[in-house]
Subunit: 323 residues, 2 copies
């Protein structure tokens, strides 16, 4: 039976990953400090004999024997990661160093969750994995953007110089149940504003676009990626002209403006009394971001399957039951 | 008497800084692990009652009471920083965290040495402090470029969230005595090839340009910067429309092609038997980089004074005496 460690295991994506790997029969250890992760996300897993919860901060070294490590620990919404920027950067940078040290010791395979934020406010659309990004070093988002870039560099150097089997994904906007209600992300904000009858707040003119991936699609992509043996993964990447550490964009390329998203959510909650209102754009907010997922399509034969409507319905249902 | 700590104090710039601050009457503690720093650079300072040498690695916490900390520790030539990329990134990232922790505890003023490498292979010329850069996350230079970007982000967040008096400089190519003979930097390479009669190796067609600053100009810029009181520094920066942590480019804007540099060095060593030969360009080598120093000119009333010829003559003299 495969033993896996999931850092950030009580977070939004970590809790889905934990549940999914338990269903596949893995022994799952979930590490979380509940800084942004939430006990309710894993309450149904406590008591499962294959599940162990370890309350611990990823910035402090940890030990154990694992076949695979999924490094998902880091505050990921701008509201959360800007609350304590130094803590955010440390989670990312010291976290990956602790993961790499443990993986080196036990020769574990590593999945590192990076982010589309490493592209910053991109000057190329859509973004392929080859794009170097356009990131402000000194802005309010830098603690996240730069520390996630640094973590990728560490992954790359451990891959090339210690021969570790490290696989990086760059996650684009993802949503679904277990997303925090008050984390400031646009979909949870809009749904909760619509459910409570508060005004839905758009920043700027609402014409900036985003692309949203439902969490189940992401989990399927991760599973496909981690399921490939290293030799064939590297061969497939080479065939696509990618000679670097494995890095895949995972996201949904369907673009929608923030304004259309708000309207769609109001359509799905027909009894809402909310109006749409407009506010100033925050500093360094990217105007546009959309993944080019050609590489993931070719390597994993993967495509997002769940439509925005279907995902929104499931998420709205989750928040209706939330108390 | 002011007490200062210089990390990387036995390195090229650190040794000049140590000597200069001792001349100003400061008590200098020089911290170095001799990974790329060199004992001969500070051999004349040992025995000076105001000088203390601390053999220590900047990635491991250290203590002491200092009024000012000059954080100059990090392998800085591509040959050195690529030798052990993980060590390089750790020097930069864990180094700044240790400096920031100590500075927070003792309320020390910090000078952090960043680099023009944070601009990567720039798409704007010349580079002002406002330029966000064009950096490859996954290349052979990333351990340096990304970790120096990350260190600046930490500086910015300690400045904004802990109220630390942190001042960042972005050092462009600098040369002079005490530069390591075998560190792979272009000026030391060319001079030593010319002195020994080996062929002078150009990478690419030699038409890529660089700008070179003599080390005394850099030290003068640092002294001017650290000499300003925090209130007037911040006011001057605001007057220039810079509302961020203090960051100044320090470099010499005179551009020269690598080929002209080689020819100039051969002119200054007329008895050299060296020929100029051409080789392939290394990966991600920036094609062009030149500082915009308007901000430093306005804030510090500073300008590089030493011509390339004069600096080269002093450096050639240093290497002639080197054994």
């Amino acid at each position: 039976m495969k033993k896996v460690l999931i850092t950030g295991g009580a977070g939004f994506i970590g809790s889905h990953m934990s549940r999914n790997l338990l269903e596949k029969g893995y022994e799952v250890t979930s590490l979380d400090n509940f800084y942004t992760g939430n006990k309710r996300n894993i309450s149904d897993l406590i008591g499962n004999p294959n599940f162990t919860f370890l309350m611990h901060d990823v910035t402090i070294p940890f030990d154990g024997y694992f076949d695979e490590i999924y490094n998902l620990a880091c505050p990921a919404s701008s509201l959360h990661y800007q609350r304590d920027p130094i803590k955010t950067s440390k989670s990312s940078v010291l976290g990956i160093l602790n993961v790499m040290d443990l993986a080196t010791k036990t020769n574990a395979k590593v999945l590192h969750a990076s982010t589309s934020e490493i592209y910053g406010d991109p000057l190329e659309h859509p973004q392929t994995e080859r794009y170097w990004g356009n990131v402000n070093i000194l802005g309010p988002r830098s603690c996240y953007d730069e520390s996630k870039r640094m973590a990728e560099t560490f992954c790359s150097d451990y891959f090339h110089h210690h021969g570790l089997d490290v696989r990086v994904i760059r996650i684009f906007n993802t949503f679904g149940p277990n997303i925090e209600k008050n984390d400031g992300r646009v979909i949870s904000n809009f749904i909760n504003q619509a459910l409570s009858g508060e005004d839905i707040t758009l920043y700027g003119d609402g014409m900036q676009t985003r692309s949203f991936q439902y969490v189940d699609d992401l989990i399927e992509g991760i599973n496909g990626y981690m399921g490939l043996d290293q030799g064939s993964l590297n061969n497939s990447l080479k065939n696509e002209g990618w000679f670097n550490i494995p890095v895949l964009n995972l996201g949904n390329p369907s673009e929608i403006s923030i304004k259309s998203l708000a309207e769609k959510i109001l359509d799905l909650i027909p009894d809402s009394n909310s109006d749409i209102i407009f506010n100033g754009l925050p500093k360094d907010d990217p105007k546009k971001r959309r993944p080019d997922i050609t590489l993931a399509q070719k390597i994993l034969n993967w495509n997002p399957k769940i439509s925005l409507e279907e995902g929104l319905q499931k998420t709205i249902q989750y928040f209706k039951e939330f108390n």
